[in-house]
Symmetry: C2
Subunit: 123 residues, 2 copies
Amino acid sequence: MKIGELAQRTGVSASTIRYYEDQGILPKPKRQASGYRVYDDTSMQKLMLIRYSLQLGFSLQELQQLLTDEYDQQALMQSIDAKMAEMERNIAKLRAQKAELKKLQQTLSQAWQAGQCPNIDLG
Amino acid sequence: MKIGELAQRTGVSASTIRYYEDQGILPKPKRQASGYRVYDDTSMQKLMLIRYSLQLGFSLQELQQLLTDEYDQQALMQSIDAKMAEMERNIAKLRAQKAELKKLQQTLSQAWQAGQCPNIDLG
DNA sequence: GTTGACCTTCAAGTAAACTTTAAGGTTATT
DNA sequence: AATAACCTTAAAGTTTACTTGAAGGTCAAC
């Protein structure tokens, strides 16, 4: 199939597919005599694995490393562990921010009820 | 005080302070005859409020809107609610991703123990 | 009176993951 | 043979929050 069909079947735009190829994340496909890229089902599976991994929270750079370094079971498990730990940190940060916001909201609310206009004016 | 001192006292670099000014987030300060920016304690408080808000998860763009629109209690409360809801969505997403990763890890682990080499090869 | 530290503006660079544009070649259909 | 739909490359634009660089002005000290 040509790039347009692969794009349509995967929901990944043709320019994004070319971009992945440029970045060395999707292997270079064969070409027709005309120069058109030709993909098969394996290409499609690889592309879908890339998208799945992105969805799981890996960056293209991380994928590139996982793909270029020869990695073994252990290395892969460690990468996944590291990613999960990173997510946990992000979750903790978001929770803390949200708690701070809640506090701020309550502080403001009380101040307003007390008729004060707390100093949050930047103008 | 001049920009360097403000920078040092707040831990915000001089170029970042100028950037906030360019973006219309920090008001334009007075100038010396020489053209040097002159700040006072109020400027410093405003700068620190900006950094606090960024830390709470607001973007510069959001701050700009909160600063330029005349906002009232209700509008501010709604902005905070919206931000908290956004954070909640992000937390949920991270949790889901993490759970997916855990599942993947277990699947891989089992496959390996069964002597299979699951197809996660992109090369 | 010059050295060094500090200030000015404007423009461009950075990271991430793409998208858009420009200019042009190919293929299928009419 | 012309038109549309599709493909090619290379380069530049997008977003966010800055940082860096270039070229030059100012100020305090020696």
